[in-house]
């Protein structure tokens, strides 16, 4: 009864529902219309689907669970599932610097690169314009022999000196049959001009380099559509699709044409991680350190946090102060603490060198840098471990300890034999999730050391403190070379490891059984 009075029911609730749904619809439809107006078809389709899903869910009776889930599902699909799927797909592609575009663009790129001047590098002074019928045309004067021809995109014809007007410097200023472009026309047609080709015969053509000079060139690389090959007309070399996103020389497959395209490569990225020494060795180094880092982080923070929980479990003077003060690192925004620690470790003015009266470049040596990372993570992490340990300590019945002491165990023995195993068992799931968190703890590495020190002389990407996630980040978004395919493969490996761990934890804690 009471619910009929207090609850949102009847016409008011209905009105409210329609008002909210209507406003959302209006907003979405407005965005869809803008998207259609700007030819953003994919976005429009996604939004139309989302709008339809929303309206069906809330207007059709039944499907109550969906009414609670739909908004979350929509956001989750667009911003989490889609990018994740994209990463998974990319791990099967050869997608790196030099192989970023699709195949047709790559073919166009190779054609553009496959031009060559003739042996003597013949150049022409050019008087460029259009014929009365609007066709591109030019008077070309060989810079060495000074022979003059009239060229159109159909070919060349000889032209007499009488049909040309020159100024006092000998530069052509007018010619019969050609109307010069105005400055404005020239500026707008700039990109068109550079793609013009005036055939000269013998497979050669004049290619304008700007508006006043042309070069005698030939297309050395020619593409044959039916056989999908490139042929170098000068050397006779044939280049075939190597199936890995490049055209490679048939005789010497290591010689590939630039640019390539992003091509499907199945498990090549994974194979590289396991087989290619240049990729594998840094990967294994990073992998080992990632495991060590995660273990050491959990180990040190748990040891300190547990000790502190034991120290503060009984009445103690200043206990409140200790408690309140020692959880501060957990409350302070971590990105700030990490950056502050970065300053403290500075070689020249850092407070740590000042305190120790040393002059050590902590982040210059691999081992000091690693130690610094662990120390800073201890600072950040021990309060959390303290909090969960003291919670767990309180949950262990004191009878256990009493029983142990009646059986003649000392306090220490009772703790080690009875309490500690119990604590680890209770805290197990949290320790594992802490391990998983540190496994992917990008911020501390990126903000503290940037993954360094890196041995730059070898051109290595991975630094001594890089963990998998920062290594994958550098691989994908590095400043000089980017390999999105490989990076995605690394991500998949991490996903596999952390996912297995999480599923194991859940199985262990029997969460999945109670679903």
């Amino acid at each position: 009864m009471i619910y009929a009075l207090v609850g949102l029911r009847g016409s008011i609730a209905l009105l409210l529902k329609f008002a909210i749904l209507g406003a959302t619809d209006a907003l979405l439809i407005w965005i869809i219309s803008v998207a259609l107006g700007k030819n953003s078809i994919i976005l429009a389709v996604v939004l139309i689907a989302a709008t339809a899903a929303l309206n069906i869910t809330y207007l059709v009776k039944g499907a109550v669970p969906l009414k609670f889930l739909i908004v979350g599902i929509l956001f989750f699909s667009i911003f989490v599932v889609t990018p994740t799927g994209y990463t998974i797909i990319m791990s099967g592609f050869n997608y790196k610097t030099g192989n970023e575009i699709d195949k047709p663009s790559a073919i166009a790129g190779v054609l553009a690169n496959g031009l060559s001047t003739d042996e003597s590098g013949t150049a022409y002074d050019m008087f460029l314009g259009k014929t009365p019928s609007g066709q591109w045309a030019a008077i070309l004067e060989d810079q060495v022999t000074h022979s003059v021809v009239f060229a159109t995109t159909d070919g060349v014809q000889p032209i007499g000196e009488s049909e040309i007007t020159r100024n006092s410097d000998g530069i052509i200023t007018a010619a019969n049959g050609i109307k010069q472009l105005s400055q404005d026309e020239q500026a707008t047609a700039d990109s068109e001009i550079t793609t013009l080709r005036f055939p000269l015969g013998d497979n050669y053509f004049a290619s304008p380099q700007g508006a006043e000079v042309a070069l005698r060139m030939t297309q050395v690389m020619s593409y044959d559509k039916t056989s999908d090959t490139f042929t170098n007309s000068q050397t006779g070399e044939v280049f075939v699709d190597n199936g890995k996103g490049n055209f490679a020389n048939k005789a010497d497959l290591a010689q590939v044409l630039d640019p390539g395209w992003r091509s499907f490569s199945a498990f090549d990225n994974y194979k590289q991680l396991i087989m290619d020494k240049k990729v594998r060795d840094p990967f294994i180094g990073v992998f080992v350190w990632t495991i060590a880092f995660a273990f050491l982080s959990v180990g040190t923070t748990f040891a300190v946090g547990m000790l502190l929980a034991l120290a503060l479990q009984n009445q103690l003077r200043f206990r409140r102060f200790y408690r309140g003060f020692l959880i501060l690192p957990y409350a302070i925004p971590s990105f700030m603490s990490i950056l502050i620690w970065r300053g403290l470790f500075n070689k020249d003015y850092g407070a740590i060198n000042h305190l120790l009266h040393t002059h050590i470049g902590w982040f210059d040596g691999p081992w000091t840098a690693r130690a610094a990372v662990i120390l800073v993570n201890l600072w950040l992490g021990f309060p959390y471990m303290y909090l969960i340990s003291s919670g767990a300590l309180q949950s262990i019945p004191s009878e256990l300890e009493e029983a142990a002491s009646i059986d003649g165990a000392t306090g220490k023995q009772a703790f080690i034999a009875v309490k500690l195993p119990l604590l680890v068992q209770i805290l197990g799931p949290l320790l594992i999730s802490s391990f998983a968190f540190n496994f992917n703890n990008f911020n501390i590495i990126y903000l503290l050391t940037g993954g360094g020190p890196t041995d730059e002389s070898t051109g290595a990407i991975a630094g001594a403190t890089d963990i998998l996630i920062s290594y994958a980040y550098k691989t994908a978004f590095g400043s000089t070379f980017q390999n999105l395919g490989l990076s995605s493969a690394i991500s998949m490996m991490m996903f596999f490891i952390v996912g297995t761990l999480s599923m194991y934890t859940l199985k262990k804690s029997r969460v999945l059984e109670t679903l």
Binding site: M1, F76, L308, L326, I340, A476
Partner: protein, 284 residues
């Protein structure tokens, strides 16, 4: 008697004091640095030689440092994300905890697995999506805090639904059964029974989400390029993250001011947050 107790407790004090020193060290240095008018990180002396608030006033007066905008951006985006993600998370958790439907189990497992995926490596895909949105609605796309907000709440369901479901599961089924007998509809059960009962947990979830968003650095630094639109995290990082020029004074002052609201929120909700942290452990 009291003496032996004192000796027995000695190690406790020693340990606690060592940790107090460890904890205090960077905090002390950052406070000193913020008061040092020369702008370097406190170096020559452990006691302040010169004392000035110039670093603090600089934050609010120097036109090149739009600190107030950064703070405002961070607070807006963190609050909006916290509220929205709790709303989405609570509704999802309610459905997963209280209803039986097709795909429920798979849905829960999928949520968990996708959440474990190192998601920011799909940055390039997110970037492409945001670029498309930017071309259509600039206010929601690349470079705007509302675009970033969309990305943040994209993950909300995965993080919060599991957390909140665990709590909702502890509320006895009899409660909603009796409400249903009294004639309550599902939305009424949700809004009038669960929401009030779960409000402490919802508050904790909101605070954790607020802190998480406030701390988020990678996405924010990639997506917010304009100086005015940055969050505090990105803005302050620029002072000291660079290779060459490092300006520690304003950074320290800015960090202290930015930390204060978070520390206050955290300490005032400490009891609940700790309850939330340990609940999972004790139950397992």
């Amino acid at each position: 008697m009291s003496n032996t107790v004192g000796v027995r407790n000695l190690w406790r004090h020693v340990l606690a004091l060592i940790l107090v020193f460890f904890t205090a060290f960077p905090i002390y240095v950052v406070i000193m640095t913020s008061l040092d008018p020369t702008g370097g990180i406190a170096s020559d002396s452990w006691l302040p030689v010169k004392f000035s608030f110039s670093n603090y006033t600089k934050l609010f007066t120097d036109p090149r440092i739009p600190y107030l905008s950064w703070m405002r951006n961070s607070l807006i985006i963190a609050s909006a994300t916290a509220v929205t993600s709790v709303m989405i998370g609570a509704a999802s958790a309610f459905a997963f905890s209280r209803m039986r439907f097709k795909g429920r189990k798979i849905g829960l497992q999928a949520l968990l697995l996708v959440q474990v995926f190192p998601s920011f490596l799909s940055l390039s895909a997110i970037y492409v999506i945001m670029e498309r949105i930017y071309l259509v609605v600039p206010a929601l796309g690349l470079g705007s805090i509302w675009g970033l907000y969309l990305i943040y709440i994209g993950g909300a369901m995965g993080i919060n639904a599991w957390l909140l479901k665990g709590f909702l599961d502890t509320i006895p089924m009899e409660l909603d059964e009796s409400a249903r007998i009294d004639g309550a509809s599902v939305p009424q059960i949700y809004w009038l029974i669960f929401f009030p009962l779960a409000s402490p947990v919802l508050a904790v979830t909101a605070v954790l989400s607020f802190i998480g968003t406030f701390n988020e650095f990678v996405l924010a630094s990639l997506f917010l390029q304009d100086v005015d639109k940055r969050t505090v995290a990105v803005g302050l990082q620029q002072f000291v993250g660079g290779q060459y020029e490092q300006v520690w004074g304003p950074f320290a002052a800015g960090s202290i001011i930015a930390s204060i609201p978070l520390v206050i929120i955290f300490l005032s909700m400490q009891r609940y947050i700790i309850g939330g942290l340990t609940a999972g452990a004790i139950k397992g």
